[in-house]
């Protein structure tokens, strides 16, 4: 926990700002090297593994094994999201996710089944400490591509570190081993996502002329959309 203020400082101290619609990328040469590594890692390991996992334990009806792993992991991430919503001053999504956590942990057998979405029509409201920082007025900062984890920004990196620490402090609420299993489940379900969105990832990562630039653009736009930030609007008729 002592490292937390240092990480926060490192992450935000050098926050580069860019004009709206543009991406601050002062670390581009380093990012591109990491991208090259991530791309070969994907081709050598993630793509084959996720393709193999995609069909595993898939019954004719109901959730497959991979989906249950994902459900279990995201259920244990819910208390952290509740805390973040409260830090953002948003009680409505906080109570929404709290209700999800209670329903899925009990009726959903420890979070294996997502009954909150299926029976109560309460899909997850995704948030994290990165969004909390956004609400508090911190800019996204420079673009980063992290080894294995992929695209990020300075703000998202700090957010992820804090979320993992928050999740870890879940060891006080649930058993420490359960919290660790939850983290492992989330990493495994990431590999599952690689299978589900395989054709999208393939087309961006292995078929575009500059996959680094495509990933960067996709990531920044997605994050702006998720945080309801206004991105660039192209108006070809404005000239």
């Amino acid at each position: 926990m002592r490292a937390f203020p240092i990480v926060l400082f490192l992450g935000l101290a050098g926050c580069a700002s860019a004009p709206p619609g543009e991406i601050a990328d002062p670390f581009e040469p380093m990012n591109r090297q990491v991208h090259g590594f991530n791309k070969s890692l994907d081709a050598a390991v993630l793509r084959p593994v996720s393709q193999a996992l995609a069909g595993v334990g898939q019954p004719a009806e109901g959730p497959g094994a991979m989906e249950m792993v994902g459900n279990f992991g995201s259920n244990l991430a819910l208390p952290g999201k509740v805390v973040n919503s409260l830090l953002q001053g948003r009680p409505e999504p906080a109570s929404h996710n709290m209700f999800r956590f209670l329903v899925n942990s009990t009726l959903g057998i420890g979070g294996l089944f997502d009954l909150a979405t299926e029976d109560f029509n309460l899909p997850e409201v995704d948030t994290g400490f990165a969004e909390t920082l956004h609400v508090w007025g911190f800019p996204a900062g420079a673009y980063l591509e992290l080894p294995v984890l992929g695209p990020s920004t300075q703000r998202d990196l700090v957010g992820t570190v804090v979320d993992v620490l928050l999740l870890d402090s879940m060891g006080n609420v649930v058993h420490r081993d359960v919290a660790r299993a939850g983290l492992a489940a989330r990493l495994l379900s990431k590999a599952g996502d690689r299978g589900q969105f395989g054709s999208t990832v393939d087309s961006v990562l292995h078929e575009s002329a500059d996959s680094y630039a495509q990933m960067r653009l996709l990531y920044i736009q997605r994050r702006q959309y998720e945080m309801k930030e206004q991105g660039e609007v192209i108006d070809p008729y404005s000239e």
């Binding site: 959309y225 008729y237 404005s238």
Partner: protein, 202 residues
């Protein structure tokens, strides 16, 4: 004799002109909004009918390109995707680029339209954005969470056409602008080589 001060009169006149302009613009604007929604509905219906026709994918691409040619403002899209380079091109080169891009987009996105098999797309309302209309829609595809797609529609070409799709926040035109810039850089700015590459890509 009472004199209306000049400034007040100008103000009054100005407001009158503005009010008339707003009144004149309102029905036309609402009409274009409805036309934008109608365009999106027609496009969605045509794409889904093609996807569900059961034809082999290779035969679907010409059908997608025909839909795209009739429903999209390819001129505006080609200009936006090519950026400042578009202004330096002669009419013939630009027409060749435009043609190559329409085939490239039909193949690249047509490949992905397979995911629409057995799915449905709900078209929502139109809202004004900058100089154009944005039409909301949601795609419900089998085994996936609903996907929000915004259609950017304009009548500036003389006809109501779409020129951009925003899929869960990701702008198709911005992606293609980045991609085409990278392809052009790989050819060291040679547009004719880019056109040849585009005819094979997608």
């Amino acid at each position: 004799m009472t004199r209306i001060p000049n400034s007040t009169r100008r103000d009054f006149l100005g407001r009158g002109v503005l009010a008339v302009a707003v009144l004149a613009a309102l029905p036309a604007g609402a009409q274009t909004g409805n036309q934008a929604v109608a365009l999106v509905r027609a496009t969605v219906d045509e794409v889904l009918a093609t996807v569900n026709s059961g034809r082999p994918p290779a035969q679907m691409y010409p059908a997608f390109q025909s839909i795209f040619n009739r429903r999209a403002d390819i001129d505006a899209m080609a200009r936006a995707a090519l950026g400042p380079t578009a202004r330096q091109l002669g009419a013939q080169d630009f027409a060749a680029f435009r043609q190559a891009m329409s085939g490239y987009v039909a193949r690249k996105y047509g490949k992905r339209f397979q995911e629409f098999l057995g799915g449905r797309i709900e078209v929502g309302a139109a809202r004004q954005l900058k100089s154009f209309w944005s039409v909301d829609s949601t795609a419900y595809l089998r085994g996936q969470t609903p996907t929000r797609v915004e259609w950017h529609v304009s009548d500036r070409s003389g006809q109501v056409r779409f020129f951009n799709l925003i899929i869960e926040g990701v702008s198709m035109l911005a992606s293609e602008r980045e991609e085409i810039a990278a392809m052009l850089a790989r050819r060291r700015g040679d547009v004719r080589a880019l056109i040849a590459d585009l005819q094979r890509a997608g």
